[in-house]
Structure formats: structure tokens, C-alpha cells
């Protein structure tokens, strides 16, 4: 079994387990509280508005927006880790069919693994930094690595196909 395949299959399984563990922790300790806080702050905003206390209503809307900002990214981190883990495992099984040298296939595997770990990780870090430039750059870089790796794999499969056709 090639190094690229090992990296993608083991990396994918570890990433899937990490995504699931995070999901379990999130469901047990964070999600219900976050949903309660979101619903509560929105309801509070409307009650404050009904009592003609608009500054308090606006504060509650801000709290709702902040909680939702975190909630969206926490769910995205969980789902993208598991989704990308599945893509890694699938590519691990099939990458040897790509019409590239072993070195290029390993480079694709490294790019996909790095992107799959760092992109959802950076999305989660955004909940702490509130869109800090470094973390946003990490998220963009991670997603670019994933897209580049997938485009490379697609090209490799196309080369393999045309190679086998020309042989036949």
C-alpha cells in the first residue's frame, strides 16, 4: 500500500473520529445551550421592543447574531470534518488509479489531508477570533488546498482514462 493511500485512509479515519467526537461533545455540552441562547435573545429583543426599550432590543439582537455566528461555524466545523474525512478515505481507495507518478499522488494526498484538517479547524477558530485575518487566511488556504487536491485528482483520473484509451 502506497504512502499516499495510507495517509488518506488513516488521516480520513482519524478525521472522521475527530469530527464525531467533536459532534458528540457539541451535542452534549454546547448545542442545546446555544439554541436556547439564540431563541432566548431573539425573544428578548421582541419583548424589549414591545416594552418600547429599543436600545435593549438592539443589544439582544446583537447577542442573537453573535450566538448564531458561533452556532453556524460550530455546525460547519463538525460537518466539514466528517465530509472531508469521507472524501479522503474515498480518494485513498481510488487515488492509485490517477495517472500521475507516486510523488505527485503523495503531494495530492498531503494537500488534501492538510486542507481537510485545517479548513474546518480554522472555521471553528473563527468563533474565538471573530474573523481575525490570520484565521480567515487559514480557512481560505485550507479550502484552496482541498479544491486544488480535488482538481488534481480529477485531472489524474482523466489522464488515466485517456492513457488507457490510447493504449487500447
Amino acid at each position: 500500500m502506497s504512502a499516499a493511500r495510507k495517509l488518506l485512509i488513516f488521516g480520513g479515519l482519524i478525521l472522521a473520529a475527530l469530527g464525531m467526537l467533536y459532534g458528540l461533545y457539541y451535542a452534549l455540552f454546547v448545542e442545546h445551550q446555544a439554541l436556547d441562547r439564540m431563541g432566548g435573545s431573539l425573544a428578548t429583543a421582541f419583548v424589549d421592543a414591545a416594552e418600547r426599550n429599543l436600545p435593549a432590543a438592539q443589544l439582544a439582537v446583537n447577542e442573537y447574531a453573535e450566538t448564531k455566528y458561533d452556532y453556524v461555524r460550530q455546525v460547519d466545523g463538525h460537518s466539514h470534518w466528517i465530509g472531508l474525512a469521507m472524501v479522503m478515505i474515498v480518494l485513498g481507495v481510488v487515488l492509485e488509479r490517477a495517472g500521475f507518478t507516486e510523488r505527485t499522488r503523495f503531494a495530492i494526498a498531503v494537500a488534501l489531508a492538510l486542507g481537510s484538517f485545517s479548513f474546518p479547524g480554522a472555521v471553528l477558530l473563527q468563533t474565538f477570533t471573530r474573523g481575525g485575518a490570520l484565521v480567515s487566511a487559514l480557512a481560505v488556504g485550507g479550502s484552496a488546498l482541498v479544491i486544488g487536491a480535488m482538481a488534481g485528482a480529477a485531472l489524474g483520473f482523466a489522464r488515466q482514462r485517456s492513457g488507457s484509451l490510447s493504449k487500447s
Binding site: A45, A65, Y69, V94
Partner: protein
Amino acid sequence: MSPRRVLIFGGIALIAGGMLFGDIFAVFVLHQNGGQAGQELLAATRAVAVGDSAGVEKHFAEIGGLLEDHGTKLDAHTHMTAAGYLALLLALLQPYVAFSFRTRKMLAQLFVAGGLLLPLGIFLIHYVGLAYSPFSVIGWASILADSAGALLIVALIGETCGLWRYFQGTRADEPEPVLPPDTSWESRVLLAGGTILILLGFLFGAWYAGLDLYEHEAREKTILGTMLKASASGGDAAQLVSDYGNLQAEKAVDIAAHSHVIEFGLLAILLSFIQPFVFLNSCWKRFWVKLLLAGSIILPVFVLLEMRLGLIAGGIADVGGLMVLIALIGTLAGVLRYTGALDAQRGSAR
């Protein structure tokens, strides 16, 4: 039944079940639920206009229930299909899991059971609520869902340990045979189509995150602030409530298109691997492949067009989902006809 076949049967059945549930959800729950939530929000703004705090709280309790109903059904759909994809992935890895036949089968059954119980628990959350629960925010259905999630994690860790043992040189006493390399038309088209679908999904996701995500978040905050000011001054906020509903719909279609095109791409690649298990003649196999790929494009494209074309596009998207589901059931029928040739080969080799 071998562990691999448990995972293939279980995986395809979970995906088909999750998609059927998703189609039923889209047709009978999604739009109706959104409409009711919009009505409740409008009623809450009118309660604000007349200074009725108790009325606001009552309408928000209704909205909370509607959102929980929507969210748990959506989560049940996504978790069931995701567990199915993972089951198919694990089926591919079975030749490299260095455990006894019994342990591998137990892990496979554990995984499929977890994949079934997790969405069931999530689905029941809305109906069971906190009845008889010893906890303040987590009910029995959540406990079922979380326990099933733990089962999936245990099974996944078990499979990883089996793989680790394989790479350390240990071999299973009755290993699953490695799937023969399949270069058939169906396999190649599914692999190429799936790769392109995943790439398209990634590109669309990057475009959404870069251009729409932050704009949507800012617009939501602005609309809510304006809605509260308009209501508090005694005005009618119907247009703002409509804008808010449209924004939620915009977000939902973007996310649904992104996630579905990637999932269908993954499904196509996974199905390309199990083509040796599909015992149908070539004509039928090609038909299911074409139907699956056509549905995989139609659903996300028409989900995106829903904002411009309305319910007609939504209906066509549902038909796309149904096409994928039918293709999946057709493939499952082919797997059911599998005669055990690979197992027989393994027996004769011994």
C-alpha cells in the same frame, strides 16, 4: 452474511432511507413549516406594535417549536445518509481490517445499528421533549441519539484498530477478498462523474463562503433591527418579515445545493467501487448510473433556481432527488441479486 455485505446492505439502505425521508420532508414539511414560522413571526411583530409582551413570548414559543421540528427532521435526514456513506466506505476497507470474522461482523452490525438509531433518536427529540428526563435540557430521545453516536464512534475506532493491526503485519484468519479492479463503463462513469460533482460542490461552497455568508449574516441583523424599530413605532412589518423569510430561503438553498452536490458525488464514487456486487445486466446497470448522475445534477441546480422560479423549481428538484433514490434502490436490487460469487471464489481458494 459477511461483514462487508452487512455494511453494503446497511449503507445503501441507510442512504436510501435518509433520501426517502429527505424527499418526504421537502414535499410535506419544509415549505409548510417555513410558512408557519413566518406567520408566527408576523404575529410577534404585531404583538410588539400593540405592546403585548405576553403575546410576543407566546409566538416565540411557537416559533421555537417549529424550528425544533424543522431542525431535527433535517438532522435526521443528513445523519442517516452520512452514516450510510461511512458504512459503504468501511465496506471498502474490510479486506484490510485484521480482526476475526466474528469481530468484524460485530463491528459492522454495531455501525449499522448506530447509523439507524442516531437519526431515529434525533427525529424523536421534537416529539419526546423533556418527558421523564432527569436532565434539565436533554431528553430521552437526545440520550438515545447521543448513545447511538457513541456506538458509531466505538465502531469507527474498532475499524481503525483493525487497520492498524493490518499495517503492523497481522492478518485476519478469514479475510474479505480484495475487490477485483473494475474498469467497466459504469464504474468509470461513476468515478469521473462523482469526482466532477465533488469538485463543483467545493467550488460552489468556496464561492458561497466568500461572497454570500458574511453578507447574509449582516443582512439578517439589519432586517431584524429594522423590523423591531418598525414594529415598536406601531408600523406594519409584513414586508420586513417577508424579506427575513426570503433571506432564510436564500441561505437554505445555497447550503442545500452545496451539500447535496458533494454528497451525490461521494455516492457516485462509492457506487463505482461496489459495481462488482451489482448483479444486473449491463443495460440496467448503465440505466441506473445515468439516472443517478442526472438526478445528482438536477436536484442541486433546481434547488438553486428555487429562489427565481419558485415552487416549480422546488418540484423539479424533488423529482431529481427521487431519481437518485430510484437509482439507488435499483442498485440495491442488483446487490440483493448478488449470488455470493466472490465468497464462493474465496471458499474454493481455500
